[in-house]
Structures are given as C-alpha cells and as structure tokens.
Symmetry: C2
Subunit: 330 residues, 2 copies
C-alpha cells in the first residue's frame, strides 16, 4: 500500500488535538454516566475505560465550531453522539457475537447478553434525554434517522450474508447505513446547533457521508489485510460471517477468482487457509491498493467540501482527521 | 378474592370500546410497520399478530380526548407509545429469557437473541422518529424519561434478586419504574398533545401512575395465584427469578413465614412444591386479598383524579379501564 505523504505529520497534529481536547469529551462522558447505578455503572465504566477514538463527538464539536462559538447545546450534542455510538457498539457486539473490541473483552462477554441489551437501551435513552434538552429538535431527528439507517444496514447485511452476488451498489448501500449515517448525522447536528444555514448543513453532511464511507472502506481493507496486533481485534471477521466487502467484490471481478469465490461463499465454511489465500490474492493482484484508492477518493471529496468554509482551527482539525484516517491504512 | 360489583358490565363496556376502537390502533400500527424489511418485517408482523391489550395507545388517545379534539399528533403519539412498549417487551423477553407471551413464542425464541436486540432497537428508533415529528417536544421528553426509568427498574430488580430483605418501599420504587412510568408518560403525553394546562397534565400523570401501580400489583398477584390458562403465560416467574413481589412481602410480615421465606430465598433453588406452598400460604392467610385491596386503592385514587375532568366519552372509557383492570383479578 502506498505511503501517504505528510501522514505522520498529520497524525501527530491530530494526536495533539485529541490529547489537548478542548471539548474534554472523556470528562463530559464520565459526568453523564456517573449517575448510572449498579451493573450499569460497571458496564458504563468498562466502556469508558475501553476507550475509543471519540470521532463522532469530535466531529459534532468541530463541525459546530466551523459555523459558531462553543455552546452548551453543542457540547451536549457531542456527548449524545458518542452515547449513541456506544449503545450501538454494545448491541452490535451481541448481534455479531464479537468477544473483543479495542483489545478489551466486550460487555456481553463479561456480563452476558441480557445485561448488554439493557446497557445499550440505557445509553440510547440517555442520549435522547440529552438531545431532548436542546433548543432545536433537528439534532434529535438527525440522530433518530441515523439509528433507523443503522438498523436497516444491519438487516441488509444479515440478508446478504453468504450471497456471492452482492455488487458494489449493495455494498455502498450497506456501509452508508451501517457506518456513514451516524457520522453524517453527527456532522450535520453540530452544524445545526451552531446555526449553520441549510446549504451549509447539506454540505457538511456530504463531508460526513464521504468521511464515513472512507472510514468503513478502510476498516474493511484492514479486516482482510491488516495487522491484528495494531487493530486490537481479530481480522477476517467479515469473510467468516459471510459479508462481502469492497476488496473481495473487486477480487471477484477478476475472471480467475470469480468461480472460486462463488464456491467458497456457497460452501459457507471458509477455512483458515482459504482466508489467507483470499488475502494473498487481494494483495498480489493490486486489489487492496485499488480499494484503498476508492477510500481515498472519498476523503478527497470530504476535503473538497471543507474548502468552502472559512479556514479556522476547526477546519484544520477536520482536514487533519481525513489525513489521519488515510494514514491508518499504512 | 372478593367479586367486584359491576365488573362484568364494565368489562363488556370496555370490550366494545376496544373492538369499535375509534383510534384504529391495529391499522395505524400495521401502517407504521409495513415499510420494515426482511427479518424485521417478519418479527414486526409476529409481534402484531401476537396482539396485546394496546393499553398505552388507548391511554394516550383517551387522555388526549379529555382535553381536546382528535389530531394527527395525538394519533401519532399513541402509536409511538405502543412501539416503545413493543420494543421494551422484545428486549425484556431477552433479558428475562421468557419463551412465551400472549400464548405465543417470543421473538428471540424464534429468531434468536441477536435479531431480537435489533428488532427492539428498530422499534425504539421508529417510535422516536414518530415523536420527533410532533409539534411539541414534551411527549418525546416524557417517553425518554419513561425509558430511562424502565431501565432503572430493571437494574433494581436485577440487583435485588434473591434478597429476602426487600421492603415495600423498594418494591414500589421498582414497579413505579418498571411498569407505571410508561403508563404515566403515555397519559401525560396525550394530555400535552391535546393542549392541557400544567395542572391538568400533573393530575393525569397521577391517574396514570396509580393505574400503572395497580396494573403491576394485580399482575404480581396473578403471577403467584392466577390461572396459567387464562393468562396465557406461565406463573411463579417472579419467585423463580428471585423477585420479591407484594404478596410475598406481605406474607413475610407474618411471623410464622418470615424465617422460612428468608431461607427459601437464601438457598436460591425454589422447588415446585415450595412455590405451591407459598401460593397456598398466601391464599389461606388472606394475603392475596390484602394485596388486591392495595391494588384497588390505587384504582380508587386513579378514579378520584378523573372526577376533576368533564364527564365525556373519554372519561367514561378511562373509568371503565380501571374497572376492567379490577375485574382481571377475579
């Protein structure tokens, strides 16, 4: 995979921005979750300790600061976005039966499915409680729409499992719903709270959508060709579950692999050696580079959108984020 | 248990009101859920077919009609209340590991926990999407508060399981959160949408709270002393899970049962013969009647609240509902 120029610079730039985080997101999350009790308190603290990149609240915050000053509503909306993300992760890990995330055992592995379900519901309700206190209801509507899309994305994924005929369009539809919807809604919600006009809100939504698509495409490449140690989670999870992702769809377009992949998916038992064969074929055939280039094209589109806005610290942060994401695949 | 005067009359009165339902709740629910796809469509249709008393939407609707005309917002809010209830049932059945509800296998038994979790999330999001389209955000805030309380109720129940020292106060706290909160919020949301003033909203909340408490108390009595065939679900579920309910708390106050019940709960293995012994002790010692009288006292309080409002068809329906609930325990 080609090395991205300036990526190291940008990575350290963002790293600073996150560690000197003016939003103080960890503190805000802790504050919100201190009033949780009993088993919920334990689960919430486990989720907080497990960490995460806090991309969604940082997006809400900085997309807001593109258009207006820091306000309580903006900070609240940022916190709500992360709580929705946390809730969906807890439920997703139950749905997918995942045992590890960020190198930590998942909540349902420690506390069981039952308590995991409840913890997710609690976090969803917390988030909506916070959003309902905002002056505008639009951020709430945006988040509701995103959750509905996330559920739709999971349904589609479920329906399409082990179907080797999934094309690029169905793939885009799935990742737009599953991943990009909440990122898009987070960016738009920040802009709405900061008083952006409809054209600006639409534009920042396009930034978020492209960022989200790139995020998932790169994640899918790493799931096939990444380093488990660096990622903190096992790879090949998509293939094992029968989810066709971009690199595999591109590989299937090569005549010599088409029939083989069809059979592999039909059999539904994908052995370890087949997984390694698919990874090798994708790497050797230049497929991962092509998939990566598609991901980067979405980051380019996201950066183009940002050029419409005034060049302040918030825009620098958002630009930096796109480069950091790009560097992640190296 | 004493027979309630006029109960048969009131039951048939409500039955008519429900079957000639002016709200057409089944139709509205079907409309809302038709756009669901794939596995969600199947689960939603299963949930619709499984039926239910649709108490919460009927409460939203008739509490609204106490104060104003039928509007789209009122009907929408009614539908949202039932979707929230349906979502919480799907998740509760997973949390409790229940296999049957309304004589039908539960969703997670047919489709697995994973899809059950997702179906619940989808229904929650649907409900909030509907509420976010309302002119006022207060119904949404009320429902968010109710869901948070429902989660708290489940946490408390979880924490208190097999603790034989639970008193009447902790019991009330639990059932107020677990059951009465959503019923209270439904009544208040209806009144809010119909333009009731703050005093009226507070009063209708008191009606809902007392109705909800009575509902759960009678449910708890039936779980110990009811007829499985009539209820459509197995009994003794609370004792088996180690949940102390009102009749058992009252039984524990009798000196001759205190030590025995303490030991039974400490052992955590409650055999079938012990379950029958507890039921018999509660029936013979007049405990079920005392518990029932407490439930009825809440229905009396609910009816007292209603006398403050003008005597229209909606008030008649709500009064009838309290008598129908009372007759349920006979």
């Amino acid at each position: 995979m080609k090395t991205i120029e300036k990526s190291a610079d940008f990575q350290s730039h963002i790293w600073d921005a996150t560690s000197n985080d003016p939003l103080k997101i960890e503190e805000l999350l802790r504050e919100e979750l201190t009033e949780s009790q009993g088993i919920h308190e334990e689960i919430c603290h486990h989720l907080l300790r497990a960490g995460g990149k806090r991309v969604r609240p940082l997006l809400v915050y900085h997309c807001g600061l593109l258009f207006g000053p820091e306000t309580e509503d903006l900070k609240r909306t940022a916190v709500a976005a992360e709580l929705i993300h946390m809730a969906s992760l807890v439920h997703d890990d139950i749905i997918d039966g995942s045992d590890f995330r960020h190198n930590q055992p998942t909540a349902h592995l420690i506390w069981g499915n039952q308590r995991g379900v409840l913890a997710g519901d609690y976090l969803f309700a917390k988030a909506f409680g916070i959003l309902a206190a905002n002056k505008s209801t639009q951020p709430l509507r945006l988040m509701v729409g995103a959750i509905q899309n996330m559920c739709r994305g999971e349904i589609n994924q479920d329906r399409e499992q082990f179907s080797s005929m999934i094309g690029i369009e169905a793939y885009y539809d799935r990742i737009a719903n599953k991943t990009a919807a909440l990122i898009e809604a987070s960016c738009m919600a920040g802009a709405v709270v900061a008083g952006a006009n409809p054209l600006q809100i639409e534009a920042i939504g396009r930034f978020g959508l492209n960022l989200g698509l790139a995020f998932q495409i790169i994640d899918d490449i790493l799931d096939l060709c990444g380093d488990e140690q660096k990622m903190g989670k096992p790879k090949y999870t998509d293939l094992i579950k029968g989810n066709l992702t971009l690199p595999v769809i591109l590989l299937r377009e090569q005549p010599q692999y088409k029939e083989w992949l069809r059979e592999v998916f039909q059999e539904k038992t994908i052995t370890n050696s087949i997984l390694v064969e698919i990874e090798t074929a994708a790497k050797d055939g230049g497929i991962t580079e092509r998939a990566f280039a598609i991901g980067v094209s979405h980051l380019d589109q996201a950066r183009t959108v940002l050029q419409n806005f005034c060049d302040n610290q918030a825009r620098k942060f958002l630009e930096g984020l796109t480069y950091m994401l790009q560097a992640r695949a190296n």
